[in-house]
């Protein structure tokens, strides 16, 4: 069974079962070593499980890259109040399609990760907050959960251990901002999906006002493997600061876009040229957005020596984010791409904070005007200033996420903007 595209250089840990419909059942997942991770966790106990995850150096795969074991250890030890584990499956970052694949092909991988996570942090209830548009994933996940309950893997006294862990599948209504961890909590509670002010942090006051840990799907999917084989085992891949393997969602102007799993630190150009079969039509590479739409755009020059790990992409002037690599060739219209992103962010802004509510929309309007040939050079200064005003001034980082592509695109592709402005001036449109 050939998953759309595969490559012999891949290291498949999380994606081993991709393309195998058999992996969707409990029995099928057990063929891949499934449910041994939770068994071992139950055996070694909560603290030791957290220690294993700490030892693995696993960093959150949702984009921020925060060490997972450390996050778990923030949870209060006293479990008299309910603790919650939330699985953030609201994958909405433009260019990202890894969580969906994990759920579609290996739902039990995620269920097992949720079990280990819940057990480690002392939660007896886990919510999987699934993106509203993921119809197939919802169906697959619901069926898998049902089977896991029937098999006694989830629910009361899991696997005869005396531990109770319930998992509830909650389907969102399709809002990008509900993928922000505290926006997700509000949405889960039935409120408007608006991010909350931190502090208090979720480990103190989270979902339903209780101590809560929230992890990305890919993070939790790595957990069963770490629980089963130990933290040291996981460190065989990746770099010192970015251990383990990671799914890379490659989209854009390459010949073979798709999900590929590599150890962190894999060279970006090798991913594009070799794994993905090079650029479409043999065109030249123009730009790469390495971590989903919310990170600075890289020029072809920036990509040359870039390695795909947290510190590697940072050194190249961008961020690994959730490793959604959007590749653009020389035909790409950068202004249009940035305008489309701006429109996306303005549409998805929750509207609480003034800089984001007004700034994202205003930036979109200016970008559209430039795109239409009615821009001026002053507009570029205004755009940069708006972007700076949207950085670090709001409750969450949605507006920062737009500011980064705007600023970086004007810095690196100023000529593209100027060409549109000049053409407009020639035509007398400005």
């Amino acid at each position: 069974m050939a998953y759309p595209y595969r490559h012999e250089k891949e290291t498949r840990v999380l994606s081993e079962g991709f393309g195998d419909p058999g992996a969707r059942t409990v029995a099928g997942w057990k063929n891949y070593g499934g449910y041994q991770g939770i068994a071992r966790a139950l055996e070694i106990g909560r603290e030791a499980t957290i220690e294993e995850v700490k030892r693995s150096g696993l960093r959150g795969r949702g984009g921020a890259g925060f060490p997972t074991g450390l996050k778990w250890s923030f949870m209060p030890k006293d479990t008299r109040r309910p603790h919650y584990l939330l699985c953030n499956a609201d994958e909405s970052e433009p260019g990202t399609f890894k969580d969906r694949e994990i759920i579609r092909w290996t739902p039990h991988q995620l269920i097992e990760g949720c079990l280990v996570g819940s057990y480690a942090i002392g939660a007896s209830h886990c919510y999987i907050y699934l993106r509203g548009e993921f119809f197939e994933s919802t169906r697959v996940m619901a069926r898998a959960l049902e089977e896991a309950y029937e098999e006694g893997l989830v629910g009361k006294d899991i696997m005869g251990s005396g531990v109770d862990i319930d998992i509830t599948l909650h389907v969102g209504a399709g809002a990008y901002i509900c993928g922000e961890e505290t926006g997700l909590m509000n949405s889960l509670e039935g409120r408007r999906g608006e991010p909350r002010i931190k502090p208090p942090f979720p480990a103190a006051v989270g979902a339903f006002g209780m101590p809560t840990t929230i992890n990305n799907v890919e993070t939790l999917a790595a957990i069963p493997h770490i629980a089963r084989h130990g933290g040291e085992w996981y460190r065989q891949w990746g770099t010192d600061k970015s251990p383990g393997t990671k799914l890379f969602c490659v989209s854009g102007h390459v010949n073979r876009p798709g999900n590929y799993e590599f150890p962190l630190g894999f060279p970006l150009m090798e991913l594009i040229e070799d794994v993905c079969g090079g650029m479409r039509d043999g065109n030249a590479l123009k730009a790469v957005i390495p971590g989903g739409s919310s990170v600075p755009i890289m020029s072809a020059d920036d990509c040359r020596d870039c390695t795909l790990c947290y510190e590697g992409v940072e050194a190249a002037g961008s961020m690994l984010g959730c490793a959604s690599v959007i590749v653009m060739d020389e035909t790409a219209d950068i202004v249009k791409q940035v305008r489309r992103m701006a429109y996306f962010y303005s549409h998805e802004s929750c509207g609480q904070c003034t800089p984001c509510r007004e700034g994202t929309t205003w930036a979109t309007q200016i970008l559209r005007r430039i795109e239409d040939g009615r821009g001026t050079e002053d507009d570029l200064d205004t755009l940069i200033e708006i972007s700076e005003q949207m950085t670090g001034t709001t409750i969450c980082v949605l507006s920062d996420s737009l500011a980064m592509p705007i600023i970086s695109s004007i810095e690196k592709f100023r000529d593209d903007y100027l060409a549109l402005i000049r053409r407009g001036e020639r035509m007398g449109a400005a």
Partner: protein
Amino acid sequence: MPDNGRKADTVTLTIDGREVTVPKGTSLLDAAGGLGIDVPHYCYHPGLSAPAQCRICLVEVEGAPKLQPSCVTMAQDGQVVHTESPAATRMRKGVLEFYLVNHPLDCPICDMSGECKLQDYVFEEGREKGRGREPKRVFGRDDFGGDVLFYGDRCVMCTRCVRFMEEVARDPRLTVVERGSRAVIDTFFERGLEGASYAGNIVDICPVGALVSKDFLHKARAWDLDHTPSVCPGCSQGCNIELHTRDNLVQRLKPRENPEVNGHWMCDYGRANYEWMNRPDRLKEPAVGRGSDRRAADWQEVLQLLFGRLQEAGGAGVRLVGSPFASNEALAGLAALGGEAGSVEAGVFRSPRAPDEDPLPGFPTLVRRRDLAPNVDGAGILGFERTGGDDGSGGLEEVAGHEGVIVVLGDRLRDQGEDFGANASLFVYLGTVDSAAARNADFVLPIATFAEEEGSFVNVQGRLQRFWQGMHAPGYARPAWLVLGALAGALRGEGTPASAEEAFQRMVQEHAAFSGLDWDAVGAAGTRLEAAHA
């Protein structure tokens, strides 16, 4: 308290180079406020939760990686805060520009102009010229029901109104619909704010002209209004208010903060209940004589004649009818006059009573009380007894036929017939408006309303609260404390009180409940009567 205990309860920090010590848990915004530094803010309101979303109150805290929202950042020991640093002022300028991108700038026709926080802040530190070239967003106008009109284009999305209805009124009737720059405040369904009894407060707390009062719409410009501290006469709660007047007319009532009585709020019943202060058909000059013999006279003649009649009336039996709308000073003057004229019976008053109370759930101290008059408790303390029914009528049968002296203060005798006081040897009517039942009055004396004089009321909490003169009484109408004080003073040989304060001091001497009170010390916030005895 031991020294170390004190340390745990307070923190000392530096704001804009000045050291300040505040209780633990004080926000940077409040701490700055204590130093007289006004950190601009929209979403924060001291009576509501702080969502920290307007982002204009961000300040620089040394050591913090980004600017911090001062409304939710708690003061810490040793913190060094800058509200005017380049980063903070630059950010505010930016946020203000964001607000203006879609603001209609229709200040010339906006009711809020002159008291608008967007206007103020932009004037203080906004950009000189806007850079917006794009078409502005248009939401238009919406009738929210009740007295509230919504101008969506002016809204700054601070959500104070939504939070007031949710947290204070506990009657969530407003919400934010849509998101991003399409987000707008709206009501649930068609009912809107209709029937909500505290919704008028959202107009007060709206920092811009998005929520305006239909009643006040286009009536006056904010800068033309005079503000006078007063007490709401709507019920015995005695909410602290301001009278906003122009051209000697009350244009609107606004709540005045008093944490002991009404917080920042007042009810819609009290707010709407001011037109009577502007009545044109007022008694304007004193008159003597019954029925067709009545003639206008000046105060000097009237008081001399009345003084003579009162001296003769000694022993004839006096009936006093007071009013819960009259000030303590007026009622004390009436009681003193009655005493001098030989009254043994207690005076009476009548007060309209609502069938129920209407509390404000989020600020339970504030209740629209059953007694729909401001000084029921003061009248009681001064020896007047309630009579009549809940509609404020009846109970005067014995008085109506009384053969001695009748003095009516402020009761309009609406339910009484023309034969009221027909048998009286002397019938004095002190009122703001004429009454058919005053036909037999020997003296009709025009008095001022509470809005036209100084004085005090005692509210349902037993709290003495002062009010100030906000407008001129029409014609020759005079404060009742002055008229009654002059008469009682003359009978006692101690002269006329020169001011409300003097009338108050005479009352303090005569009535133990008020003993120890000092007019100036009562101030604008009022004081509990028990406290004076403690």
